[in-house]
Every structure is written in structure tokens, then in C-alpha cells.
Amino acid sequence: MGWAIALHGGAGDIPKNIPAERLEPREAALRRILDIGVAALNAKRPPLDVVELVVCELENSPYFNAGRGSVLTTNGTVEMEACIMDGNTKRCGAVSGVTTVVNPISLARQIMEKTPHIYLAFDGAEAFAREQGLETVDRSHFITPENIERLKQAKEANRVQQDYTQPIKTEDQKEPPIPDGISKLG
């Protein structure tokens, strides 16, 4: 038995001919953030601290769909979600619909540790984040040029889009899939 760590930065229809300028920074971010997690485990930090630390780093990277790199709603806004869970106790915390909290995963942990509840959303979650003194920023902080372009293309195709996957039909849309060529990375 020994420590172990795994992390992900999203799944989808990632083309094997992905341009290097899109691939390399994401690979580099994964390696850097993995090293941070490994160092924390080697320093005997508790797993709950390690997963929060690693996810904060991923949220702060614009290359992944969370925090700074979050994709946009149909209104061009960001609504972020996060969840954290401790295997020993099954204590957990979750948050949805936050728009100004820099690290939603830290808010989820605060909900787990400082409320009698598991899940807060939207205005109540925002208010609790401020009450706890978590860092907040203007909503524009989370909106990247790349995600503005992704939303534009998804709206033109009238589709929703999973991480790294070209826009796909929602269940009530019956028309055939659009051809390749509009996929953009998240």
C-alpha cells in the first residue's frame, strides 16, 4: 500500500491532430499540477487537502473547463459547479451556479465543513462565499476569448458542447448532426 493520485482535465472528442499550440500547454499544466499533488502527498498532507489543492490549480488554469477557463452559458455568462468528498466519513460539500468565486472547490469544502448542509447554489452560495471570506472577482475574470468563440460557434449550430467535443444535439433536437469542422477545444 502507498499513496496514489490521479487527475483529469476533461474528456471528449479530442482529435489526434490537435494543434501543438493547444496540446502542449495542457500537457504541461497536467504535469505541473500532478507534481504539486505528489509533493503534497510526500509532505504527508491529508488527501482532502491534496484534492482541493490540485483542483484549485486546475481551476486557475485557463486551459481547462473550470474556474478561469469555464465555458459559457447561452447568455454568455459563467455558472460554475464543484464538489468534494471525504471517503472515511462520507462528508461532502457541493456548489452550483457560482459566478464570482475564484475557486468553487474551496467553497464546496467550506460548505462541507462549516454548514449542516451538503449543497448550496446560486445566490445563497455566493453569499456564503463572501461570508467565509473566499476570494471573489468580477465575472469577466472567467470569460476567455477562446470560450467566447466556442459559444459563438455552438449558438450558430444551436447545440450544446461537452469538453473538447464538437457541439452535439440536445435530446429534443431531431435534425441530423452537423459536419465536422466546428470543434473547438476547451
Partner: protein, 133 residues
């Protein structure tokens, strides 16, 4: 969607997941990430973080099901994770990362790729995107 699962040398497990959701999602849409047992779960058998198509992951309670088949069917971590991702979740919708109290790691996905990385105390490290790298 981003996530991390970790286990220390005493077998303590934790999971965390964070996301912006789907591009062009409706305002107010809730995905799988914050729904305990769908996109994130941890107990004494494993810690799981999922990524992909949220609605599919919610329907299949992907994260909780991995733990459940370990507990009730007696499968190992890799077998349980592979079963849920490849036999239960709709193709093209789901990836997950998982660790067990023994320090095992699984990272199956049924999409074309998944940005992922892992390390174990014995020195193994992997950073990968597609299958069979």
C-alpha cells in the same frame, strides 16, 4: 471538467471535481459534478471523479456505481471502473479517474480522449490523452 482523487499511505481517500459545465448550456442547468454519487463520490472502497456528458453521468450514477460494484459484486478497482464506463455508461459520454485504499489507480473513458495524469508512491507516473498511449 477537472478533478482529482487521492489516497494516502494509510488508505484515506478523497475526491474533488469542478466544472463550468457545457458550452451553450441553459442558465440554471445543473450537471453531474455537484450531484453526490453522479460525478463525484468517495467512501472506504474508492474515490471517483467523472467527466463528460453530465446528463448521462447523472442517469447512470457513475461514481457511486463504481463504489457499489466494488462493495456488492466484489470487483477490484480497475474491473469496477471499466465495467461502469464501458458496459453501463453510453459510449462517447464518460470518463473517470479512481483510486483505491490500496493505492491502485484506474482512468477509463469511452470518449475519444481524456486529459489525465496519475502517480503512485512506487514511482509510476503517467500523463496521457488518448487510448493506448
Amino acid at each position: 471538467t477537472v478533478g482529482c482523487v487521492a489516497v494516502d499511505s494509510f488508505g484515506n481517500l478523497a475526491a474533488a471535481t469542478s466544472t463550468g459545465g457545457l458550452v451553450n448550456k441553459m442558465v440554471g442547468r445543473i450537471g453531474d459534478t455537484p450531484i453526490i454519487g453522479a460525478g463525484t463520490y468517495a467512501n472506504k472502497f474508492c474515490a471517483i471523479s467523472a467527466t463528460g456528458r453530465g446528463e448521462a453521468i447523472i442517469r447512470e450514477t457513475v461514481a457511486r456505481d463504481v463504489a457499489a460494484v466494488m462493495e456488492y459484486k466484489g470487483l477490484g478497482l480497475k474491473e469496477a471502473a471499466d465495467y461502469i464506463v464501458h458496459e453501463v455508461a453510453p459510449k462517447g459520454t464518460t470518463g473517470l479517474i479512481a483510486v483505491s485504499p490500496k493505492g491502485e489507480v484506474a482512468m477509463p473513458f469511452n470518449t475519444t480522449g481524456m486529459f489525465r495524469a496519475c502517480a503512485t508512491e512506487d514511482g509510476f507516473t503517467e500523463v496521457a490523452i488518448w487510448h493506448s498511449e
